[in-house]
């Protein structure tokens, strides 16, 4: 009973051993091989550019002439002293707020409506998602044609109810509202579906016991739904922040010149970056703006995270 009586020829044994070690090698190293495409690609088009942006930002760098002399933080100080930069920051934040706040409120309301016991659920869910397949460029052109100052559909409709025409292109804030409308057209339904999924994951007996205690629909919504939705809300708000602050397509196509209006009424940070890099051919300064944009995104992201945490943990039986 020690070992097998079956005698394995020497050659086969070594082949088996070879196969076995090959198999062990396969199990150990294949996973690295399988995840490597992502890491290689990220190193090339993510990490390298990220670091290289820093390198470009501390040099004089011309789109055509290439790398020039080392200038330290001159590009940053130059950009930070430009009025246009701060206007771009203001516009970006303003467009973000004017789009994100109503969008979130509408998305929650739509999600709550979709969460009721509907007939033809799939049909209604699909109907809120249609705008998502329209490219932002197309959305911008369609809405741009409605927001004309003299003949636009919106102003004509407003005139019917006795409201004076709004200067959708001349007035900075009005232009932000118009651009925010484009963003919200495309994204509200998408976010509503994500919030709907979050709502459906809330255990139904929470609602039942609240209903037994006599809580009405509105009460249940604020005391159960909103607090329970916290992780989903955080997810939606963070992705909306990262995407929203980089906004380019809609303001780019809001007029024919694409540089954010004659007086930079709707020039966002990314448009400013594009302007410095590709119309003024100054990559050093464009790279500096890219880093500053990153700083703004991180800062606003953290603020939003703090706000969401506070709002959603104030009340309700959660935790």
């Amino acid at each position: 009973m020690t070992t097998s009586t079956f005698v394995v020829p020497e050659r086969t044994r070594s082949r088996l051993a070879f196969r076995e070690s090959l198999g062990r090698w396969d199990v150990r190293f294949s996973p690295y091989l399988f995840v490597s495409p992502f890491f290689i690609l990220f190193a090339l088009v993510g990490l390298f550019p990220l670091l290289y942006t820093g390198w470009v930002a501390v040099h004089q760098w011309d789109l055509l002439g290439g790398q020039g002399k080392w200038v330290g933080f001159d590009n940053f100080t130059f950009v930070l002293q430009q009025r246009q930069f701060w206007v771009a920051v203001r516009n970006t934040l303003s467009i973000f707020l004017v789009s994100a706040v109503p969008q979130l409120i509408f998305a929650i309301v739509i999600a709550a409506v979709l969460d009721s016991n509907l007939r033809n659920k799939t049909f209604w869910r699909m109907s809120v998602l249609v705008p998502f397949v329209v490219m932002p460029v197309a959305v911008a052109l369609i809405f741009g044609s409605m927001f004309g100052e003299r003949y636009g559909l919106v102003n004509r409709t407003l005139a019917h109810v006795g409201i004076a025409p709004i200067l959708w292109h001349t007035d900075p804030f009005a232009s932000h509202v118009a651009i925010a409308t484009m963003v919200n057209f495309r994204w509200t339904g998408y976010n509503a579906l994500i919030l709907l999924a979050g709502m459906q994951a809330i255990p139904r007996d929470l609602y039942e016991s609240a209903a037994i205690d006599g809580a009405g629909r509105i009460n249940r919504f604020f005391r159960i739904t909103i607090p329970q939705l916290r992780p989903t809300l955080i997810f939606v708000i963070i992705t909306a922040t990262i995407g929203g602050l980089q906004i380019f397509d809609e303001p780019r196509l809001y007029d024919q010149n694409g540089l954010g209006g004659e007086n930079q009424q709707w020039m966002t940070m990314t448009i400013y970056l594009y302007k410095l890099g590709w119309t003024q051919l100054n990559f050093g300064r464009a790279a500096a703006v890219a880093w500053l944009l990153f700083v703004v995104i991180v800062a606003i992201g953290l603020v939003n995270l703090a706000i969401t945490r506070r709002i959603a943990s104030n009340e309700g039986p959660a935790n």
Binding site: D26, F34, L41, P49, T122, W124, V128, V133, I142, F283
Partner: protein, 290 residues
């Protein structure tokens, strides 16, 4: 007695929650539906008129008869390059989606079912990269592309999108939950290599999630503007890039611009008609997991 009463009250409460919503809810949903579809109708309304339709104060709400004429003006405009843009959009979106699905599923399989050191840290790293804004890398990426002479080529748009952090994360989540460990073990015991196990066991099991990822990536690539706009040019554009050209050309004639918008939007609308249901499920599924 109390048990009975609480039972009745419970059932009443359940009924109150499960009741069919009233007209108000359907009215609201119909209003949203109209708002979702109105921009399409508006595009057709203007796109079927003529240069003066948009500024006509007595504009009719009934479409005109010029749509084909306007569409032809878009297609025949040489600087818009419509057919080339359409072909390019199809090529770029298809290649990127296929590649994202393949490499994400491969990495997802390794993360979900492999055992290797550094696994957890690497997965966290993948998730972390999702938070890095794309704008941050545009300048050096452009410098790199022009150094290699790739600006203006489709490769410049395709390569950066070949595999995404979102895709890897998404497939890892799905495979971890949908593919039983025993199945992978069985494949191993039968002497299949890791890649064969992936190809014959993991890939078929991951098909529903892979289809959703492919659909989602296709839409995101098709609608993407910023990077293609920077790195491509009018002679070799994708659809969003050529729409931007169209606007710069016909800055007064919105009937032609909006006819072009409709032409560029129809392909994804058709896709949505057939696959919209899967897209809805995919977005909702991903939300719960993420």
């Amino acid at each position: 007695m109390t048990v009975l009463i609480s039972g009745i009250r419970r059932r009443q409460a359940e009924a109150r929650i499960a009741q069919r919503p009233g007209l108000l809810v359907y009215g609201l949903l119909s209003a949203i539906l109209v708002a979702s579809l109105f921009p399409f109708y508006w595009s057709f309304l203007i796109g079927s008129g003529n240069g003066g339709t948009l500024s006509d104060t007595n504009m009719s709400w009934w479409p005109g008869g010029n749509f084909l004429h306007n569409a032809a003006a878009v297609i025949n405009n040489e600087s818009v390059n419509f057919w080339k843009a359409l072909t390019n959009s199809i090529i770029v979106s298809s290649v990127v989606s296929a590649s994202v699905v393949f490499f994400s599923t491969l990495a997802g399989f390794a993360f979900a079912k492999g055992r290797f050191s550094g696994q957890k840290g690497m997965l966290l790293f993948v998730i972390g990269t999702m938070c890095v804004p794309t704008q941050l890398s545009v300048v050096p990426l452009f410098i790199a592309m022009s150094t290699f002479g790739w600006t203006g080529t489709l490769g410049a748009v395709i390569i950066p999108g070949l595999v995404t952090a979102f895709g890897v994360f998404w497939m890892t989540q799905y495979i971890a939950q949908a593919l039983p460990d025993e199945l992978v073990e069985a494949g191993r015991i039968d002497g299949a290599s890791m890649f064969r196990t992936f190809w014959h066991i993991a890939l078929p099991a991951a098909r529903p999630a892979a289809a959703m990822l492919g659909l989602f990536t296709f839409i995101m690539t098709w609608t993407n503007f910023f990077w293609p706009f920077i790195v491509l040019n009018q002679s070799n554009p994708t659809l969003p890039v050529s729409l931007a050209t169209l606007q710069a050309n016909y800055f007064v004639d919105y009937s032609i611009v909006l006819a072009g918008v409709l032409l560029a939007t129809v392909p994804l609308l058709v896709l949505f008609v057939f696959a919209g249901k899967q897209l809805v499920e995919g977005i909702m599924h991903g939300a719960v997991k993420g």
